[in-house]
Amino acid sequence: MIRYIERTKAYYRAQGFEHDYQWARNTHTPLSKPAKPLTSARITLVTTAVVEPGIPKPIRTAKSYRFSDAPAHFDTAEVSWDKVTTHTNDRESYFPLRALNARVAAGDIGSLAPRFHFIPTEYSQRHTRDQDAPLITQHCLEDAVDLAILIPL
């Protein structure tokens, strides 16, 4: 087992940062059971992989895109993952669109939503909680989404 939080704190202290990141603790998150069976549910993806790297990182905000506009390769260089051990050459490893489409075609999943959603990795909990998450929630409601899979990188 790796104690990720302790290791991350030590890593950034070694970089000279004096204040540890404060991880969000959502202790009162309610459990929401799916209202529909998977065979009639509409599903979407939420990713931290970057769709528009031309937008400077400090001002990136949540944004929704049509699945048909999903890039063949997202920009994953700026987000933190173990770049020594693994890679993101295979989009399916972090954005399983083909696998979802196959299940929809087979009738295992009701439908794919028209849009997926980008959410930036942020130091600010306020940005995520008060700006990005509500926007994605709104777009999911507009698209009549039943299930959203968050795949953070």
Partner: protein, 72 residues
């Protein structure tokens, strides 16, 4: 492996009895467990480099602020 991971995620929507459930899958990153020691490792060899990375990051943040590149 990708199909199995997606299958497990879809099952979790319907099987989870509590929020915040973590389901461990049997998949391994690699046959070697060496990555565990190397991930975010701080060693005598990279201490200087890490500090230099931090300095550059702080300078970049300052430049961003000066250019108005921040979220309200």
């Amino acid at each position: 492996m990708q199909n199995q991971t997606l299958e497990a995620a879809l099952d979790l929507f319907y099987q989870a009895q509590n929020p915040g459930v973590v389901q461990q899958l049997p998949n391994r990153w690699s046959a070697s467990e060496g990555w565990r020691d190397n991930f975010m490792a701080i060693t005598a060899l990279n201490r200087k480099q890490l500090l230099s990375l931090g300095d550059e990051s702080r300078r970049q943040r300052q430049r961003n602020r000066e250019q108005g590149l921040f979220r309200p």
